[in-house]
């Protein structure tokens, strides 16, 4: 019934003319079907890009779909996946966390030095996670309580500061050694999953990613707090007017992003059996790229866990494919840049088609 009311808005709809004749109306319906199809594909967004990349890579390389290689891709993408999930929460609130790479380095250095000095795995793990969370808390508090105008600023400052602190604490040297459990998580493989050779192909790090993903999914989909994150991102003024504790929500996403940088630090420590002060360098760029390729909006309020993971996998699959084809690694960065632009252009196209679809609906009495 309300749909009829749309006719009042016809001036908005460029397609309004097609109702003038029956033939026009028929064309109109055909156009609408095509639009629906195109929109359906575009709404799948990053999943389509990932599918195409996988198809292309498996055609170009025999080993791409082998168990070992899939295991490698999963293992290599684990750190970016975990960081991307934290970054997603931040981006949902219209923010950005530039410090996750430095935070990873710092947390790894702290974790490794605690392990070196105390040989206590629980203590080392707790130290790495606490460092990550603390750095995130400082980011959030500087932004909210320090009233800095945009999260770019505190997290940029933290990018510099945390990286400096990591170098200072480690004397600019890699601290060798990590708790066995951390090594297992970061580098271990599950031998009981069929396929591959005796040591197995499925990386335990992928299980960590899955666990973190389920957790973030729970937060974003099921918890009141997650709903508040979307509210704050969608309309901060209205969120405050509706009694949502906006400052706490904002601080919380930086704490969680930092905490996940701590988790990523453990994965990195395990991968190399060491804590390096530069192990997280530039990781923030991959995390941000993953979230953007995954269709999250920098304007806030839009983005999903599955798409952020897909974005991270797109980056990993692309790098892996280029490696397998023996292409100069420097091309990988350029390819990442190209995929960012492509993904966002597709999203812009989706938004355009959606508004055309809306105006078509507005003049269609069905």
């Amino acid at each position: 019934m309300i749909r009829e009311d749309h006719t009042a808005l016809v001036p908005l709809a460029g397609a309004g003319k097609s109702l003038e004749t029956r033939a026009g109306a028929a064309r109109h319906y055909a156009g609408r079907r095509a639009l629906t199809l195109a929109l359906g594909v575009l709404r799948l967004g990053p999943v389509v890009i990932l599918g195409l990349l996988i198809a292309l890579s498996s055609v170009l390389s025999d080993v791409f779909l082998s168990f070992e290689n899939v295991g490698n891709v999963l293992k290599q993408s684990a750190v970016v996946c975990v960081l991307a999930l934290g970054q997603l929460l931040v981006v949902l609130t219209r923010g950005i966390d530039l410090s996750v790479g430095s935070n990873l380095s710092l947390s790894a250095v702290v974790g490794a030095s605690v392990w070196r000095d105390h040989e206590s795995a629980p203590l080392a793990i707790a130290a790495a996670l606490a460092t990550g969370g603390l750095v995130g808390a400082v980011n959030g508090l500087l932004y909210v309580k320090g009233r800095l105008p945009h999260p770019f600023i505190p997290t940029l400052a933290m990018l510099a500061a945390a990286s400096g602190l990591a170098l200072l604490l480690s004397d600019s040297r890699t601290i060798q050694g990590a708790p066995p459990i951390v090594n297992t998580i970061g580098a271990g493989r599950l031998s009981w999953i069929p396929g591959g050779d005796a040591i197995g192909w499925f990386p335990i790090a992928a299980l960590v990613v899955a666990a973190v993903a389920v957790l973030v999914l729970l937060v974003t989909r099921r918890l009141v707090w997650g709903r508040w994150i979307y509210c704050v991102g969608g309309n901060p003024e209205a969120a405050a007017r509706n009694g949502i504790p906006v400052p706490s929500v904002l601080v919380s996403v930086y704490v969680l992003s930092g905490l996940l940088a701590g988790v990523a630090a453990l994965l990195t420590m395990g991968k190399g059996n060491a804590g390096s002060p530069t192990s997280g360098a530039l990781a923030e760029l991959d995390a941000i790229a993953a979230v953007i390729i995954g269709g999250a909006s920098f304007l806030g309020g839009r983005g999903t866990v599955v798409n952020a993971l897909t974005g991270a996998l797109i980056i990993a699959v692309m790098r892996n494919g280029l490696n397998l084809l023996g292409i100069d690694p420097n091309w990988q960065y350029m390819a990442t840049g190209a995929v960012i632009v492509l993904a966002v252009e597709l999203d812009v196209l989706r938004a355009q088609l959606e508004s055309r679809f809306r105006s078509l609906q507005a003049v269609t009495p069905s």
Partner: protein, 256 residues
């Protein structure tokens, strides 16, 4: 609580911003099921007045009583919990969320109760059911109930915003130019919605620049000019000219 007292009473409301006197002793009453139109030129003090009622501004002097309860000094959230809802011109919707999420933003249905608010699990089903029931009651139909409101037309968005305002058994709804951005038919829908609120016994304060719309739904019209009440009348074709004269300050045929 005296049953005879009006739902909302504002007495001698004064508010200044620096040297600017926005409200200078304005008083008004709104009864249950009554639609009061607030008229006035830009800068007459209408927005300041409704913001004072809804708790966004605090009055320098004067009182606001709801059902005899003094809410003059209460903050916006407290006033909402007492049953005054405001639909601002910008609608204050969450464009990225579906209507149900919009309805329950900040007061999500969730449990269990022993957990801190933020960690409770959303009761999605219950929230959508209640949203659907309310939209049905107000005879609002939406093409896609689960779509974000960004994908809806101006009239649908307005309907969602108004429905949200009355979703929680509020006593008084303040509508700030609810038809300003709408076409003819969508405006008619919103006015119909106002009538239904009235029939439900909800008091309505309506700000509108459309004299037609005011005459269609309002029981009384109060005209503000430069922060003062300059006239009050039941809006009808007979006194339309008088109302316009009050609004532009041309009382008795002479402009000031």
């Amino acid at each position: 609580m005296r049953a005879a007292s009006p739902l909302l009473q504002v007495r001698g409301a004064c508010k200044r911003f620096g040297a600017v006197v926005a409200l200078d002793g304005v008083s008004l009453d709104v009864g249950r099921g009554e639609v009061l139109a607030l008229l006035g030129d830009n800068g007459a003090g209408k927005s300041t007045l409704i913001k004072a009622i809804s708790g966004a501004h605090r009055l320098d002097a004067g009182t606001v009583l709801l059902d005899g309860l003094d809410i003059t000094a209460a903050d916006a959230m407290t006033i909402r919990s007492h049953g005054i809802e405001t639909v601002y011109q910008d609608l204050a919707l969450f464009d990225n969320l579906a209507p149900a999420a919009n309805f329950f933003a900040g007061r999500e249905l969730a449990g269990p109760g022993w957990l801190p608010r933020g960690l409770r699990l959303l009761r999605h089903r219950e929230m959508s059911d209640r949203t659907r029931a309310l939209l049905d009651r107000l005879q609002i139909t939406l093409p896609d109930f689960d779509a974000p409101v960004a994908r809806m037309s101006g009239g649908q968005r307005q309907a969602v915003a108004v429905a949200r305002a009355v979703a929680f058994s509020s006593k008084l709804v303040i509508l700030d130019e609810p038809t300003a951005a709408l076409g003819l038919r969508e405006s008619a829908r919103v006015l119909e919605l106002v009538r239904r609120l009235k029939a439900d016994g909800v008091g309505v304060v309506l700000i509108s620049h459309s004299m037609d719309h005011v005459m269609t739904v309002a029981d009384r019209a109060l005209v503000l000019r430069r922060g003062r009440t300059v006239g009050e009348a039941a809006p009808n074709a007979g006194n339309q000219e008088q109302l316009v004269a009050w609004i532009v300050g041309a009382v008795g045929g002479q402009s000031d």
